[in-house]
Amino acid sequence: MSAPAVSAKGLVRRFGTVVAVDGLDLEIDAGTCLGLLGPNGAGKTTTIEMLEGLRRPDAGEIEILGMGWDRDGPRIRQRIGVQLQETMLQEKLTCDETLRVFASFYAHPRPRDEVMDIVGLVEKKGARVGTLSGGQKQRLALGCALINRPDLLFLDEPSTGLDPQARRRVWEVVEAFTSDGGTVLLTTHYMEEAERLSDRVIIIDQGRIIAEGSPQQIIDGLDAEAIVEFRIASDRNGADLPDGLFDDLPGAGSVRRSGDVVSFEVTDVQAAVFALLQRAKEHDVALDDLRTHRTTLEDVFVSLTGRQLRDG
């Protein structure tokens, strides 16, 4: 097996008293995509910026494509592509002019038309950046990251703020890059994005890794086939329910309540739902919005932290 494209050990970064990244290890095998999933403020941007050489870690070691930032900065930069979390490109330049400037930084840039084709902006070549939609701007930023045929691509929340269709087009560009053998590190707080694009996912919270593996491994680790969720009908006060009413349903794991929404992880959906409906009938409780869904990375996060991924 070849050496990992990215390897980091014991990364620590503090901002004043805030420990943004707290002893993080990660490795990305060449040709794979690693998704860094976590809520806002988890330390994703700080981590990726340390790997990009933009921030120095307070502690820890980083190796990129077998090189270190201290000695090989310029050589690493020739071979990586980066999309920062919030770069606004120059509005008054055209797409082609934008790529042209970035191309001039590299020893062996790709032809600009080829890049336009990859990111699907051929017909926007001569358009000013200021006239592009959010999704098109994001794809142009991706184009800038791809102009040097990078071996390794860093993407910090590439689809945040985009509508679902624009998001899918960004995903297609990333998928094309990985299927050509490229290595990707991607941060996101969308679990669909992490699940769809990543070979491996690291879930981080408060600067630490709380789960890692392939999306399937992580989900399997929760030991729940599905999640059952319902609301207690609004005309019945939650307080009236006997405590622990749903605690010992067959096939169901731990129960979680937030507001009037109750959810639990189940190993046997059929048995659990059947028992749930029976229990509700016995106690004359109406269940609203009863539904079940396959366990997702989001559920893993909720289970591990008690919070939602998208909580600020």
Partner: protein, 343 residues
Amino acid sequence: MGRTLWELTRLRLLLFLREPEVLFWVFAFPIIMALVLAFAFKDRGVEPSKIGVLASAPDAVRKALAASDELEVETYDDREVAEHALARGRIDVLVSPGAASEPPLVHLDENRTESVTARLRVRDALQAPLRSGPVTEERPVAAVGSRYIDFLFPGLLGMNIMGTGLWGIGFYLVDQRQKKLLRRMLVTPMPRAAYLLSFITSRFVLLAAEVLALLAFGLWMLDVPLDGSIVLFGLLTIFGAASFAGLGLLVASRARHIETISNLMNLVMMPMWLGSGVFFSYERFPEAMHPFCRALPLTALNDALRAVMLDGAGANDIAPELGVLLAWGVVCYAVALKVFRWE
């Protein structure tokens, strides 16, 4: 490095040309300003001094004053009203009767040039009846190169080179910093020195357009002379532009907000507006301040521009000024590169 520098320079110029307001400030504004000033300082002949005289002054005195065509005389009955008019600058001097057989008194404000001029004119008018003929012959200057506009124009040129250099770079850089574009550049192999250098190179191109427009206007519309070599003139403006581009980079090297950069720019330019002899010669400041004035880059540029345009100075004559400009440019650029904030 060469290709990067070329592309970054091209980028700066493209962006510049796509900002109509900037075009106005760079090209139209200085010409409008020169026009207004040219009009303001057009030959208007001799302006008479406005003086006051108390009604109680002897008839002979009042007649002699009224006879002078250099004086516009206002007669006051009340001394207090007259003194107030002098204090407010409505009259330049006030003539009142002397005690007993003493000569009349002239009240003046010695800090006001107009007041001092008026005193001399009053003296002249009162002495005229006693003289048989004129003491001196007078001949007003008409020679090209000695009018106020001839003095002013090189100063405006210098001020313009300073202003466009500083403002153009300052606002652009802060904007790029705010948009995080500078950070985006940092993750590419772009040489950082090339990025900063592109500000200086792009200035040269803009400078050519800007200075040529102003110079053409000055030569043809205002009849300002260009006695020295145009090549030397060009070289001098290049030194000036490089100097202020370096200064602009330094001033903008850390600022994160438009307000910060505005304040910093004004702080840097203020001493030069006043002390660099744009509108009046810095020789008017106390002697002790002259070395300080001469060390300012705008002073060096203005002095050298005047020397080349008005006195036909050669390269050797303006070598010290070129040295001052070069030193400012190089030192500022080097420091800016060191302390530059990319985030």
